[in-house]
Subunit: 187 residues, 4 copies
Amino acid sequence: MKTKDRILDIARSMISEIGYHGTTTAALAKRAGISEGTIYRHFENKEAILLQILQELDDKYSEFLQTLRSARDGDHGTIERILHGHVRFASDNLADLKIVLSSYALLSPSKQSMTSVIERMHEFFTECMTRSMNMGVIREVDVDPTAKTLVALLLGVMQLKVYWPDMDSDFDPEAVQFVRRSLVPNL
Amino acid sequence: MKTKDRILDIARSMISEIGYHGTTTAALAKRAGISEGTIYRHFENKEAILLQILQELDDKYSEFLQTLRSARDGDHGTIERILHGHVRFASDNLADLKIVLSSYALLSPSKQSMTSVIERMHEFFTECMTRSMNMGVIREVDVDPTAKTLVALLLGVMQLKVYWPDMDSDFDPEAVQFVRRSLVPNL
Amino acid sequence: MKTKDRILDIARSMISEIGYHGTTTAALAKRAGISEGTIYRHFENKEAILLQILQELDDKYSEFLQTLRSARDGDHGTIERILHGHVRFASDNLADLKIVLSSYALLSPSKQSMTSVIERMHEFFTECMTRSMNMGVIREVDVDPTAKTLVALLLGVMQLKVYWPDMDSDFDPEAVQFVRRSLVPNL
Amino acid sequence: MKTKDRILDIARSMISEIGYHGTTTAALAKRAGISEGTIYRHFENKEAILLQILQELDDKYSEFLQTLRSARDGDHGTIERILHGHVRFASDNLADLKIVLSSYALLSPSKQSMTSVIERMHEFFTECMTRSMNMGVIREVDVDPTAKTLVALLLGVMQLKVYWPDMDSDFDPEAVQFVRRSLVPNL
DNA sequence: TATGAATGAGAATTCATTCAT
DNA sequence: TATGAATGAATTCTCATTCAT
């Protein structure tokens, strides 16, 4: 693996475990088996490492939404697919999510990144729900605040996944059922 | 106000705004109008300040649950009351929640505190839902994972409240409706 | 002596000997018998130390000019007094001058400080020469460029004093004579 | 141009603009369009680059003195020629002079180089003035200190040229006149 | 000759904590 | 209780120099 990628990899796991401030360049270099100066050949400063991690997550989410969009067909399965997809996306990117969730209050790049994800998520949900409502596969609800509710639910699910990892097992399918019961008529 | 309380107060607002690491003892002392040494008359170290803030939040939540418990009567209104109550509790303690949410990944006392709140919340929801189910006012659902789903939803709502304050207005009632539709039969 | 003054004192001698960049905060602290952190209780950063030294030199020069102005009487002695005064001022503030001369190309505060001194010196010479010419005690010369010549001469004298200290002894009086011969008629 | 010369050229302009310490090998390599390692193919270390620049200035000055010496004829024009020549030499080698003037307090090679130039200048002036005095074209003065005064004047003129470039225009001829008035009898 | 990634010693600066008054 | 000067370990970042290719 290229040195730059090794730095990113180690940084990802360290920041997700002990936070941005707890991750010192000295410790990062040591764990990556390189000298401290080498970090600065690959990144302008420590924040740039965080930035790149966040950017990559942003890109991965964009790509994920792209996939969902292209697969969406409006039939009964859509909502499940969207929710399951998001829950899965969260599982696949736990470390990155941990980083965003734990740092976005403190570091402006993190905040921007998180806000961008949230807004795109909200927009996507609004879009899907409008479609589904027009097709009659979900109840008539106030789209915007309901989309926000879904965003909140998914944010919370991620939080629990990240910080209470023991409860994973039986939780996701029920969350999806919970949403289905609320949105799909005649269940 | 006693010096100790002033320190706590300033610390609360500073930590919630700029985080635990961003809050230096020097700045804290300056804003509190005391000398740096004085902080250490009242707290063993910086972490002890955070600890006390978290403990107070913990206590406030215990008290809040107590109130909910004593008011609970199992009739149709219960779920709304619980949810509204929690949403309100979040609004009333925004600064503290911001502190927990932004620091619990990084500092073990914060993590413990958060875990304790989550567990009690989960336990409380389980309790309430079991009761309500026995009384027939909510559908038959798998209690444990559904309680987790509710915890997740509330966690997410808090997050949005804390970090996306613009969306507050129309959001809470719809979230409650969302849950009601999912849980209350024949709506 | 107060800690701040001790820092300034040691800094003055170190910077004049080994330059601004050569003077590390670590060495400065060691020689001042304090810890490195203490420096930053008294100065915002390293440059602030240099700034203060320069400011003090600036003030001393202002005061010096004030003295010269109040003592000036326009008789034959004036030119000698001004030149001798400046030469003496240079001797009395060798360390500071060494600092300005060696750093003013590189550090903007130093440059500003030096420019300010040069401009005031030039202005003062212009003033004195105009007076003296009106009184007929010096020849009719083009005042402005001649004042610049005097500034240059004094700058050069300082340089030699600073960097070729062995030649001091017999040099100053002759420099004054040199100027007298050029400016005073019928010598 | 050979790589080595390119390095020297870029180094000259960079050091004269931002100083020796400000000129990093990384920036130097970048501006020269070569890799950092290449610098060390041509120079043992960073100081060696400075050394060579100084040596070249030294050589240029030797050559310049040679020219002056061979052109000297002792008649009335000599003093003007020497002074004008030096002023011109300064103008022609501004960047190098800036380097010496700004670094000779800090780096021993620079100091040596400067001392050598000053001493040769002093020696040359002594020589010329002795000759001229014997021929009766200048007044009877104490040669050694007067030569030092001339050195000082020229040093100062260079300083002003280098650091107060706006005043150039009308200054040089007057400086020469200033010296003539002081040294040439019956003016 | 040339490269450029890697080095590591050292620089400035920060900050929680201590302690004599 | 309160002060505030002093501490010193830790942190981020720089940069001349090396060396395998």
